[in-house]
């Protein structure tokens, strides 16, 4: 297992110029690691909708690399998004933060916590680049390969669940985030 911060530190070191969409608990950590116009805190959000939002970005801007940092609870709300993503030859990578918890609501267990084979689900959906990491060291070693390559990707990270954390807030208002992102990717 790794901490959420360790997981995101490795991602920050390897994300390159990709857009990074963060959700839920990741929003509370990511701005301290990266706070550029290509960092989009999807908060407030609609749970389960971060992956299609990232796919939409990539479809609108062909060639744009997108990483979506999604929790297990959010992904479980919309597993079909993996099938949708797999249809498209786009550089979108889902980084799954699997802590088995609905962390921001106080740490209740998600359905199937600790039992669900998320890598198997991603493969079965048709995603070709799938990897899984249990420890921070393994993730450090494998991140470059896991985030490289073409087409949709899926990275499953086993992360220690934490209870009692403050509810995260986005680093700036949504309208400002959108303006910055659009300028950065030439979508204005």
């Amino acid at each position: 297992m790794m901490t959420l911060r360790e997981a995101l530190e490795v991602l920050a070191a390897h994300r390159g110029d990709r857009v990074v969409v963060t959700t839920m608990a990741s929003v509370g950590v990511w701005p301290a690691l990266s706070d550029t116009p290509r960092d989009f805190a999807f908060l407030p959000s609609s749970m389960g909708q971060a992956v299609p939002l990232g796919l939409g970005l990539a479809l609108a801007k062909p060639g744009l690399g997108v990483v979506v940092v999604n929790g297990d609870g959010g992904l479980l709300m919309n597993l079909g998004c993996l099938v949708t993503l797999a249809q498209h030859d786009v550089p979108v990578t889902v980084v799954l933060i699997d802590n088995g918890l609905y962390e921001v609501t106080g740490g209740q267990a998600v359905a199937g916590a600790g039992r669900t084979d998320f890598a198997g689900l991603a493969r079965a959906a048709g995603i070709g680049r799938v990897s899984a990491f249990d420890t921070a060291d393994a993730w450090r070693q494998g991140a470059a390969d896991a985030l490289g390559g073409s087409g949709p990707g899926f990275v499953w990270l086993k992360v220690v669940g934490e209870r009692g954390k403050a509810t995260p807030t986005a680093p700036r208002p949504m309208a400002e985030q959108i303006r910055r992102l659009r300028e950065a990717i030439g979508a204005t």
Binding site: P52, G56, A58, L59, G80, V83
Partner: protein
């Protein structure tokens, strides 16, 4: 009834770049024309997902149209709330209202027509009815152009 090629020509003329859809038996008749169109067809698995996908497309500068049946719109409420009211995006939808024609003459027990307009309006979306059985190609083009031209989110309620 307007055929698929006529509707798709109107979608193209209105300037939409993508159609994100989950078809019903009425909207589904547009499939061949959409597939052959210069508008890119995107197929999600659920209507809330369609709305979020359209949100991402809009963030990236595209002009998507979401086309779903009202039953799927009912499921997609939270995604609509987020895209329109949190992100402030001008989401454009065609919402197929199942059973609308039969409902008008009291010949169906389908409750979709009863809930469709109130729920679209409940999410703060201006809604305009469109009757594809009465309209001609010009009327269809006008309705799609008006939908696309608005700088606010809006829905066309497509009477089925």
């Amino acid at each position: 009834m307007l055929d698929g090629p006529t509707v798709v020509r109107a979608i193209e003329a209105a300037g939409f770049t993508h159609v994100v859809w989950i078809p019903d038996s009425h909207l589904g008749t547009w499939e061949d024309a959409l597939t052959a169109s210069r508008v890119r067809l995107v197929r999600p698995t659920r209507e809330g997902e369609a709305v979020a996908l359209a949100a991402g497309l809009m963030l990236g500068g595209a002009r998507p149209l979401v086309a779903v049946q009202c039953t799927g719109f009912f499921e997609a409420g939270d995604a609509v709330r987020n895209a329109v009211h949190d992100l402030g995006l001008p989401l454009k939808l065609i919402v197929g209202v199942r059973g609308w024609r039969a409902h008008k003459v009291g010949k169906t027990a389908d409750n979709c027509p009863r809930f469709a307009e109130p729920l679209v309006r409940a999410w703060g979306l201006p809604a305009t009815w469109f009757d594809p059985f009465a309209a001609n190609a010009t009327g269809c083009e006008l309705a799609l152009r008006e939908l696309a031209a608005s700088d606010r989110a809006a829905a066309l309620l497509w009477g089925e």
